[in-house]
């Protein structure tokens, strides 16, 4: 395909060959997988979300021609390459345990009690290799098995729940659900509490700021603006 450049004369656009569910398409190089599939005429009604690498909806599994290695990545973040064989994974069936965060305890058996399948982990590291966020997935599952909630929460922090790990795991673990429980337990029970926040909330509930609030509600926009511009600003720390 050729198109006219602004100076006149033809400028060739580099095209690459990709295979979407087995059918060959030629798409411009430099497009992301998601854009390339749309260029080819596919319309996303599932498996697309933020288009910015954050929501985890566009999980894609692919191989490159001549290479046995199976790759997994997000369609909106990965550029197409010549000889890519693609398939989308818009949904991962995964078992989520039912729990009431207010009623459960955060001890070293909680995670393995709710998700006993994590005991099946064979340390094959396939989950880590599948993760588009390059997280240490096997390590956080091992930490969960060991009851180290803090470590599991820390290592899984950037998980976008795309489901690629869960689909490839031979032990049939749903890693991201385990990690979510770990992070919830960490936030509610393990992380140190922000005491100044608790004190402030108590002060508010006791009515310490009620008078000031009432005064401000009665002020005009000009008065509020004056107050706002004259407020105390903490100096920047070097």
């Amino acid at each position: 395909m050729a198109r006219k450049s602004k100076k006149g004369g033809k400028q060739k656009m580099e095209m690459v060959r990709i295979y979407i569910m087995g059918k060959e398409y030629k798409v411009p190089a430099g497009l992301t997988i998601m854009k390339a599939m749309e260029y080819a005429g596919y319309r996303y009604i599932r498996g697309a979300g933020c288009r910015a690498g954050f929501c985890g909806a566009c999980a894609t599994v692919y191989r490159k021609e001549g290479d046995y290695k199976l790759h997994a990545d997000l369609a909106c973040q990965t550029t197409v390459e010549d000889g890519m064989w693609l398939v989308q994974l818009p949904f991962t069936p995964a078992n989520k345990a039912i729990y009431d965060m207010d009623k459960i305890k955060a001890d070293d058996k909680t995670l393995v009690n709710f998700y006993p399948e994590i005991a099946r982990c064979v340390s094959c590291n396939t989950c880590t290799k599948a993760c588009p966020q390059e997280l240490d997935v096997m390590d956080y599952i091992q930490a969960s098995l060991r009851g180290d909630i803090a470590k599991a929460a820390e290592l899984s922090f950037d998980c976008i729940q795309c489901g690629l790990c869960a689909m490839r795991c031979p032990a049939e673990i749903a890693h991201y659900h385990v990690a979510q429980l770990a992070r919830r337990l960490y936030g509610k029970y393990v992380a140190p509490k922000a005491r100044h926040l608790e004190e402030r909330v108590k002060e508010i509930e006791e009515g310490k700021f009620d008078e000031e609030m009432k005064k401000m509600m009665k002020m005009s926009v000009t008065q509020l603006r004056k107050l706002y511009n004259a407020r105390d600003i903490e100096p920047e720390e070097d």
């Binding site: 009690n113 399948e117 005991a119 099946r120 009851g147």
Partner: protein, 120 residues
């Protein structure tokens, strides 16, 4: 040579024909009171091609303590044979126990071992 025998020999690497039914394995087995078939009976049934051994209680209560193997005068490791019989079912993706039904709050070694031996 029947299918069951050849599969068990392949998975365990043991020669079941070496067994001459002396019974030392059954005499030493600590789990024998929970078993429906004695270990030496299990070996014989495999040689006869009787697939009911896979659903008998014996292979599933074996604790893999290796007592049978170290005492066998023909050096047959019966623990490996029990493992092979379990794998015949587990490799069909059929779990022997439901992991969600096991006791809660057990030490991790118990949960990991149970999941290795009883789930596919």
């Amino acid at each position: 040579m029947n299918w069951l025998l050849s599969k068990v020999e392949e998975l365990s690497g043991e020669n079941l024909y070496a067994c001459y039914q002396c019974g030392k394995c059954s005499a030493g087995c600590p789990m024998v009171e929970e078993m429906d078939l004695l270990p030496n009976q299990v070996i014989l049934l495999v040689k006869l091609g009787d697939e009911s051994v896979v659903e008998a209680k014996s292979p599933w209560v074996c604790a893999q303590c290796y007592q049978c193997g170290v005492r066998c005068p023909r050096e047959v490791d019966i623990a490996k044979i029990m493992e092979a019989i379990r794998l015949i079912k587990l490799r069909k993706n059929i779990d022997h126990i439901k992991l969600e039904n096991i006791e809660k709050n057990l030490p991790q070694i118990a949960i990991v071992s149970a999941s290795r031996k009883y789930t596919g």
